[in-house]
Symmetry: C2
Subunit: 348 residues, 2 copies
């Protein structure tokens, strides 16, 4: 049995405890400095307040100040922070990482550098490590449909573990694989990470469709509109993968269509989209959602940077990725919802 | 303004009246011999009883016995029957078709011939035409998210018109294009038709996920499972397109992911899936749904034939298309729901 340390006691990080504990591993669930209340409840009542479930048997909760004790002898470290915490976790790990350490990142997002290059969170974390260990640590990332509460409930799902070293992906997947959590593996880390990030952006578009109209007297909803935007989202994810050297087929797989489907089923990103579809400006929606982490917005902003760099260097046309452009216009420029159907389904 | 004749007064055929009439075209809505009651209400009250909406102004309802009068001078004929009616509509048109006639098929489904070749409905219809007109009639088919009631309500959608003659697709699309109905065009008829047919089959799988569990006390649903099956469905549609000479990118576009999304949002195919996921055998579910046209079942049966021919001739492996195989096993062999996650996301 292995020792696995999860850093970040949010929904998704914490939910990973269930398959790990079910497999008999020792699980150290370490809260960040923002998770003290959660860890307190975990310690005093064995209850995870955000998942509203009793912690499985082999899980040991830790406050952040005990992180060194938790990390001692870890076989696998799971970075369970949300995207604003990526630089923080990089710093936390940089002074503590051992050569050859296995790391699994579950954070969803990307960054775009000043030359328009896509930077992946697992790489951003690894780049903070001391030179002598950096090349011995090959991070793994996971993507695919996984609502945390459903994972903790033991509902079936299938996800994709990606790493440039397939053995690293296989090894992490083996620790987590259960009768209900089915990891598949791939060497295509870029496609996993970009697919997972982009589904957050395009979920806003699906939400917009549902915000545009309430069902009418004859019961007509806006599923057609949602589906058209869903499909254009998948289509553009495929185009982004092709453009950045990924595998465009991932657009119709777990980190693309699968993750977009599940994120469109519920949650705060849909709430944002519905507000925008209902006529709120982004500023108004942001004010109404204050305090909620909107990874989708950060991703849309980064992609706005990317589109503008790619266009100025001639890699894409001025009307490529029309749905993403609409999202950027709404979030960055305070633009209105005007769906550019006439530009859909051209080569992007 | 054109004269457009729709044959079949079911939900989808009838709903096409709205964009056509909105564009000012004369629309003859001809019921089949099964639609007499519908046409009666359309004539006496200007109300379409199944859509529960008043017919638009330029629509003229016809009983089937007046089909010749309706067809006189038609610029476009829309075949609006469901899949069991394909041979019937072929026979109806074979004696009445003019050289150069434009035809648009909205029927969802496919057939597999004895050598495992995919046969498309538009081709089956065209093959019934007399030799001297057959090559002058190049059918168009439509796929993509389009719930009939939403189309009639003027809710936005984007669909794909496919024809081997792009001008034929363009010409039909022009008649129907409105501010809310946005047809895109493609020469890839096969991918449109196969994508649209297969989404019916894979919707059963999505339904199965939702039938497996009710939400639990902590609110956990089965969106993860549904999304994993959704993505595997898209992945297998891509594999089927590659195998049959289509464009696998259509798997993540309107006739694939888009149409699968909308069909999974509601309807009888989901109802069948939920029954199967809840533990009913196919025979039990069929009995409970008696009288409902299940195009999905017909498609699954045809694909069962295809898989077995393709496997015996060595075109596919014995575990290729694992989700489709599960559906075939359930429908054809009365098998149980056992999701083959371990075979997912391999090359199909």
């Amino acid at each position: 049995m292995a020792k696995v340390v999860i850093i970040g006691a949010g929904l998704m990080g914490s939910a990973m405890s269930w398959p790990l504990s079910g497999n008999g591993h020792e699980v150290c669930l370490v809260g960040t400095h923002l998770d003290d209340e959660v860890i307190d409840r975990c310690k005093s009542q064995r209850l995870h307040p955000r998942l509203n479930r009793e912690l499985p048997g082999t899980v040991i909760p830790f406050f952040f100040h005990d992180v060194d004790q938790a990390l001692d002898g870890a076989d696998l470290i799971i970075s369970g922070v949300s995207s604003p915490g990526v630089d923080w976790i990089a710093e936390v790990l940089s002074g503590r990482i051992r050569a050859g350490q296995q790391i699994l990142s579950i954070t969803k997002g990307i960054r775009i550098d000043d030359r328009g290059k896509v930077r992946l969170f697992p790489d951003i974390i690894a780049e903070s490590f001391p030179l002598n260990v950096r090349n011995t640590v090959i991070p793994v990332a996971v993507g695919g449909p996984c609502i945390a509460g459903e994972l903790a409930a033991g509902r079936q799902t299938c996800v994709m573990f990606g790493s440039r070293d397939i053995e690293a992906a296989r090894s992490s997947a083996r620790l987590l694989s259960t009768s209900y959590y089915h990891p598949r593996i791939t060497e295509d880390l870029l496609s996993v990470e970009l697919g997972v990030a982009m589904k957050n952006a395009y979920t806003v578009a699906v939400g917009i469709a549902y915000g545009m109209h309430a069902p009418d007297a004859a019961g007509a909803n806006t599923h057609n509109t949602a589906a058209a935007l869903f499909a254009q989202g998948c289509h553009e994810i495929g185009g982004l993968l092709r453009l950045t050297g990924g595998d465009e087929r991932m657009a119709s797989a777990l980190p693309g269509a699968g993750d977009l489907y599940v994120t469109s089923a519920a949650g705060r990103t849909m709430t944002l989209g519905k507000m925008l579809g209902g006529g709120k400006t982004y500023a108004q929606a942001e004010a109404a959602l204050r305090g909620v982490t909107l990874e989708s917005v950060q991703i849309i902003r980064e992609m706005g940077k990317a589109l503008s760099i790619w266009e100025s260097e001639g890699s894409i046309r001025s009307r490529s990725f029309p749905l993403l452009r609409m999202l950027v216009d709404i979030v960055v420029n305070g633009g209105k919802v005007e769906i550019p159907f006439e530009d859909f389904y051209k080569d992007v």
